[in-house]
Symmetry: C2
Subunit: 320 residues, 2 copies
């Protein structure tokens, strides 16, 4: 229910981090590209196949250390339907290795259309009575600008299929304040969005007191992270902006609760491109990614409370 | 430049409407589905092939009457990468018939990631020096919640490739006001988003005084449509919510300027499902769609000024 599955994976691995798989072709070692271009041609299919090989090798090296991956839909769409096929196969492979998959699509629409996105990414598509998972992720990032009509179609599906969503609240980018920081009668735009997340999630609570409605809150704004951790205690955070974007571990620590839970911190380029940063042989890209996730785990866990699952109501009925 | 190409198509056809291609499998006649399921199986491929056949037949029947189509990405993603291939082929087919294509994806992200979406939907993907259009639409709907970092990556690409974007401002759904109508210091959230559209577009102006940055403003809120038409005079509107969602022609008229320009009104189900509404033979679905677009054109043009291209600066230098 809700993010329970993710929270338990985090506790088992003692690691509240997620690796963003945002594979620009520039990040893929030349020897992989050469091989795929030779086989499929220098086209979208060749590119998509090279990216899949790259992703799988990274997944192999991180799946025993990191609980989750976060593929960013944009980098797959850039390679057309062949790229989108690689997104599907990446998700499928990560799940076969026991990883939790958050598709970062920031999808948004209303009613039946939002239902279609929910079905596509988290549910089962009905083809004349046959139910097929189109992409099969565990969670999806979404944008709440359209209000409840854009979120409600996801909630029942999350409940029925044990899935979760992360709504953009305070994003990590420099210009996020242009709209998100503006002052409303009694809060800010991002504060209001956070309240809405708490409300949307209130009937979809997991056993660790985090609901199926999470929030994206950037590592680059530690004050707002701290504010939102207090204001939205049942909302699990996906925290981008650590590493390449400038967010450090000390700031990120504000996203966590007293059990070292309540958030998962993303790093994309810092892991995928670790071999470039280290000037390592390109054939060592995956082992460099492994070293980078070990370093990241150490960095984050050094500044947060020891990760432990809180007693649930069932285990100790007196905690109510 | 900007929306000039779309505006000229609207003027030639005297028709400021766009057909939304949001093809749920339920909308596709059974005889098409039976044929494709028999050939490809009752799976995502079979479904995607059926939808493509449906779309092409509708495009054939409307391309001499309607200037544009608006495929909704969600309904293609619902059928996995096979569905996304149908999106690509639908766009390609509509363009081959001379139509303008607005991909309704409501995409949003920042920096390099938004650049990837821009490249995917409006640009050319670089595969080791070979430039390939991944989807090749003329315009894309986007969500501006992340501020300038989410829009800037699109602007140069629009300029270089003669493309446009539509930013969500005031959406047509019932709960759009939960966030969008909230009051800021001197405007509303949607009013602020409209101002941002004017600002983003100011350096990307077309010859008919509409910029490359359009806005989505729903037909279901005529007062706000009127307000935004005045407040954002250089912002071309994409108007959803006409027909099935309850917006009528009288309300929609507020979206237009004194030349009958400044907006394009969408209808999806009212066209795609015209044959179901008329209880017609399912084999007549495309001809029913043709009748429906003729009716829609008559309905909208009856309440707006006669469509005429304004004199441009080049034609009459004194109008400055």
């Amino acid at each position: 229910m809700a993010f329970d599955k993710l929270i338990e994976k985090i506790a088992i691995l003692q690691n509240p981090t997620v690796v963003g798989l945002d594979p620009k072709l520039d990040y893929v070692p030349q020897y992989i590209k050469d091989k795929k271009f030779k086989k499929y041609g220098k086209n979208l299919k060749g590119a998509a196949k090279a990216i899949l090989t790259f992703n799988k090798a990274i997944i192999d090296q991180i799946c025993d250390i990191v609980p989750a991956i976060k593929p960013q839909a944009a980098y797959y769409e850039m390679y057309g339907f062949e790229g989108v096929k690689t997104l599907y196969k990446t998700i499928d492979y990560a799940k076969s290795k026991g990883m939790y998959v958050i598709t970062d699509g920031k999808r948004n629409d209303i009613g039946a259309t939002m239902q279609a996105y929910a079905t596509a990414h988290l549910g089962f598509t009905d083809v004349d009575g046959v139910k097929i998972p189109a992409f099969g992720a565990d969670a999806l990032t979404v944008n709440g600008y359209l209000g409840t009509d854009g979120i409600a179609p996801l909630l029942e599906l999350c409940q029925d299929n044990d899935k979760g969503i992360f709504v953009l609240v305070k994003t990590s980018n420099q210009s996020s304040g242009e709209l998100q920081d503006l002052t409303l009668a009694d809060t800010t735009v991002y504060g209001k969005m956070g309240q809405m997340c708490e409300n949307w999630g209130s009937e979809y609570m997991g056993k660790y007191c985090y609901s199926a409605v999470g929030a994206v809150v950037g590592a680059t704004y530690p004050e707002q992270l701290e504010e939102m951790r207090k204001a939205t205690p049942h909302t699990f955070f996906l925290v981008p902006g650590y590493g390449a974007q400038g967010g450090g571990a000390e700031g990120v620590a504000k996203a966590f609760d007293e059990n070292g839970l309540g958030a998962i911190v993303n790093n994309s380029r810092g892991i995928m491109c670790a071999y470039q940063k280290l000037n390592a042989n390109e054939r060592d890209f995956a082992i460099c990614a492994r070293r980078a996730v070990i370093d990241m785990k150490a960095d984050i866990t050094s500044v947060i409370p020891k990760i432990q699952l809180p007693q649930t109501e069932e285990e100790n009925p007196t905690i109510l």
